[in-house]
Amino acid sequence: MLISTDPQIWVGALATIAVFSYMYKDNPAWRVVEHAYVGLTAGYTVGYQFHTRIKPTIMDDLIGRGYWSYIIPILIGLAIYTRFSPSLTWMARYPLSLWVGYGSGMVLAFTVPPMMGQITGTFRLFNSFDNILYWLCVVTTLMYFFFTISRENPVVKWGAWAGRWAIMVCLGAMFGNTVIYRYNLLLMRINYLLIDWLEMGAL
């Protein structure tokens, strides 16, 4: 049996084994790997954002182009750190209000066309079993989530009842899909250990 001589693969393989070891039981190797992972990913985010957003804003936009108005969003962004000071924490509302307002605006502005596509796509000719079933599944699912009209109304009541069963079918299938996806991910890791690290053959 050959074994990889690449130190990068050794680090990855040993860390992968440490992650898998948690399934046997909690242990120090897993805890170290876990904490190092959280630390490194947090560090990566800061480094990445510094070079892609903070530095270009200061060097190119503020100093280079003289966009001095950008000082306002910079100050708004920095206000988030006031969360750590009880007397100033109210200032952290400013960045949140900006982001939530913008995000809501994006939802209102851009989700209508895709939604309409989904709605109009539901209206179809009742010329096949599939078409009828499709329409029934959409409508009964919506009825299940529909609380404006009382469930005492027989149409809503039976519609919601049927919707509940349709959702169960959907959840079952989604569980099946999830298992398939997760096994694919696991396969990748086992390939990494057997093929890349231990060089036990080729997939």
Binding site: V11, I74, F84, R93
Partner: protein
């Protein structure tokens, strides 16, 4: 002012985006682009909030010598080491990229990969035919699992077709119902936020 001004900001930024999309002048004046740059810049400068929170929590663990404090030390050392490294040489620098490829990528993937083990164990212990609903759920999970992998067709010819039909017709239709409900919910929430009726995002803070 501590609540009113943020509320006003929320409304103004929401309306700018809507106005720019649906009215010609909004696009001409470039209002959306201005709002977008403000949001992106402010988010960029707020990015160290995660690192700051971790420093606060784990710094206290170390300071007070709480149980497992050495792990907190590992976390902070790794974080600040990587911050300094990436600030110095960018995330595409040779050493920074080496660490990313050798450690962050495989550990991240391994964490996701372990879910296959848990999901299998859960299927064995939790998936019970206790109620009619649970039975239906279980049957369709099995039909999908075997049908979407080649083994279904090897066992019973046509099983794969049944599983794919399920995905397209009943399951696809229910998903559409859920999607439409989600869209309506998102639009209603967006409307409430822009109109200032929904204020949860401004809560959770004291001092105002």
């Amino acid at each position: 002012m501590r609540k009113e001004l943020p509320l006003l900001l929320t409304t103004v930024f929401g309306l700018i985006v809507v106005f720019s999309k649906w009215f010609y002048l909004g696009e001409v004046w470039g209002l959306h682009d201005i709002a977008e740059s403000w949001v992106l810049i402010s988010q960029g400068f707020a990015v160290a909030i995660g690192a700051a929170s971790l420093t606060r929590i784990h710094g206290r663990n170390i300071q007070r010598r709480r149980e497992d404090w050495p792990y907190s030390l590992v976390l902070l050392v790794c974080m600040y080491f990587y911050i300094i490294l990436t600030l110095y040489q960018t995330v595409e620098g040779t050493e920074a990229r080496w660490i990313y490829d050798a450690y962050i990528t495989p550990v991240g993937s391994a964490l996701f990969g372990t879910i296959a083990f848990y999901i299998t164990s859960a299927a064995y212990r939790v998936f019970r035919v206790r109620t009619r609903e649970a039975t239906v759920l279980m049957i369709f999970a099995v039909v999908t699992m075997l049908g979407m992998a080649p083994i279904g067709d090897v066992m019973i010819s046509g099983w794969g077709d049944l599983a794919r039909w399920l995905q397209d017709v009943p399951v696809g239709a229910v998903t559409r119902g859920i999607l439409i409900a989600g869209y309506i919910g998102a639009l209603a929430t967006g409307m409430r936020i822009v109109l200032g009726l929904e204020r949860a995002h401004l809560g959770g803070f004291t001092g105002g």
